[in-house]
């Protein structure tokens, strides 16, 4: 298998300025092609900026939008790109979307499933959640799994993508930096948490993990960058600097996936039917359709242990 050159576009999108961001994507795609990249990854909402609020409905695009078609055309021939934007469905729901474009076509769209609406986040107010977590075939010769930011804070996302055939898990993010505690490993609580997650997922799914996080500022929020590539054994192959805008190139050997999966056959040993059975039981119990079979007598619903009075 040929080495694959990845291009991580750690950019600072301009908030609400679709045309400027489209132009920047075209420029970077050309630059990546020049540098021999096979896959270019842009961050979450790289075409629109993150803190959109009511602008969301003003920068949304249908999947047949000619501007997306022109961007996809820039991947022909022989390139792949992951871009992210606000997708408007035919019934006018707005999604945070990440699309895989290859050889001139829009191949696959992932709609962000988990929309954080707590703390500094307010996504569910403005966006509809996606309903699918699916891997997609790719011209790269392996399956690709797309996820957007918060999707990776739910362990089911990387697991489903890997079991569905993804050997490269791509997470595009707009992660705002916060918690400058000196006690945290990376000097930034957010970065420390993300790094733990990505290493863990790469190791547990024996897959490449590509994380592209934006930089720049929207309102109060500063995005910390720190894009990374983690190999299927959990080793960090590349870490981009925090806060610096730039496009970073990383060469990876996709055959590492095979070597790691032969050595450490974790995916082979997964038990999806067991997981599905237990999930079905939990769903029935949580819906009150069956008694909680693991609870002590006297426990209230949703709490396994009887509360002492």
């Amino acid at each position: 298998m040929q080495p694959l050159r990845l291009a991580l576009a750690q950019i600072a999108p301009r908030l609400g300025d679709l045309e400027a961001n489209l132009a920047r994507h075209h420029d970077l795609l050309a630059e990546a092609r020049e540098a021999g990249a096979g896959l270019v990854v842009f961050p979450e909402l790289g075409l629109t900026g993150y803190q959109l609020q009511d602008l969301a409905g003003e920068v949304s695009m249908r999947l047949d939008d000619p501007r997306l078609a022109r961007l996809a055309a820039a991947t022909a021939p022989g390139m792949s790109a992951v871009v992210s934007f606000v997708e408007e469905s035919a019934d006018h729901r707005l999604f945070i979307a990440a699309a895989l474009m290859e050889d001139g076509d829009l191949r696959h769209v992932h709609r962000k499933v988990f929309l954080p609406t707590y703390g500094l986040f307010d996504e569910r107010r403005f966006f509809a959640p996606g309903d699918a977590i699916r891997a997609t075939p790719s011209r790269l010769g392996v399956g690709v799994g797309l996820a957007v930011c918060e999707d990776f804070w739910h362990v089911s996302t990387p697991q489903l993508l890997a079991l569905d055939g993804a050997q490269i898990l791509i997470n595009v993010s707009s992660s705002p930096g916060r918690d400058l505690a000196l006690s945290s490993e990376a000097g930034l609580g957010t970065a420390t948490s993300w790094r733990s997650l990505m290493r863990t997922y790469a190791q547990l799914t024996t897959s490449f993990v590509v994380f592209v996080n934006r930089v720049g500022v929207d309102e109060s929020l500063s995005f910390w960058g720190g894009s990374e590539v983690i190999g299927p054994a959990g080793a960090t192959l590349f870490s981009a600097p925090m806060f610096d805008e730039g496009m970073y190139f990383v060469d990876v050997d996709l055959a590492d996936v095979r070597r790691e999966r032969i050595t450490l056959p974790l995916l082979r040993d997964e038990r999806p039917e067991l997981v599905a059975r237990e999930w079905r039981r939990l769903i029935a119990e949580r819906a009150g359709l069956a008694a909680d079979s693991t609870a002590e007598p006297g426990a209230v619903p949703g709490f396994d242990v009887a509360v002492e009075q």
Partner: protein, 318 residues
Amino acid sequence: MSEPAETPGADPAPAEPMFELPAELAIDTGIARRLIAEFIRGQLRQAGFERAVLGLSGGIDSALVAYLVAEAIGADKLLCVMMPYKTSSPASQGDAEAVVAALGCSVELVEITAMVDGYFGDGGVDGAVDGAVGAMGAGGADAMAASALRRGNFMARMRMATLYDRSVSWRGLVVGTGNKTESLIGYTTLFGDSACAFNPIGDLYKSQVRQLSAAMGVPEAVIRKAPSADLWPGQTDETEAGFSYPVLDRLLFWRIDRRRSVDEVVALGFDRALVERVDRMVAGAEFKRQVPPIAKLGPRTAGVDYLYPRRRPGSSRA
């Protein structure tokens, strides 16, 4: 819990630490500088401005912001305005001048004495308007306190008015210099020192302001001196409020950032009466931290269901 305070690492072993830094409040100053520099540049770019203006008092907060702005955009794009009243400490102005000299930024001196005395009279106590304020003018010690409060607030608002005027002539945004501690307890003047286009240090406690100041090389005299609103000679924040910043910062950190209940922070060793008093101050200052409510009448109302970023395509003046 009560870990010994860390000695800040920026300076080579001073005989006495410049300040007390509670361990749980220590931040990564390298990351903070970088993040704040990006924030400052981002705020200016999105608004279509290249320059900034701030009020430099000689205290640590405005000194730190001057250093941060100079680092982010260059000292040549920063105007510091010194705005003393006739009773302001001459030492404060000396400290402010030391900051300006160290940074090489532009500076202006605007005395606010005439503005303040023009309103209150120059007797040092209430002017003719006092009767119009009703209860505020009630006699005895309260009257003196109210008077100092009114005068202090008025001075802060004259400084705000000056800065916003200089914002036009300098073609720069007004940068806020209030810290998280004073914002939380409400030790600020509404539409006075809290007024700004953006604030780079409003999420840093006073102890963290000191830590970052030491890391950035703010003059030691500025870091060491007792914080003061300098509204009357000898005033200091800590004697006026009755608690020390390290204690207050730690209490606020555990109550607010770490969501500990009153009983939980008392169990951590804080005095219950202090906890309850600070809780009241924080609740009582909520209005100072928020945009005033607009009566909801129409289909779309700013801040309620008309929600746009402050800066978006078309909003830049450039």
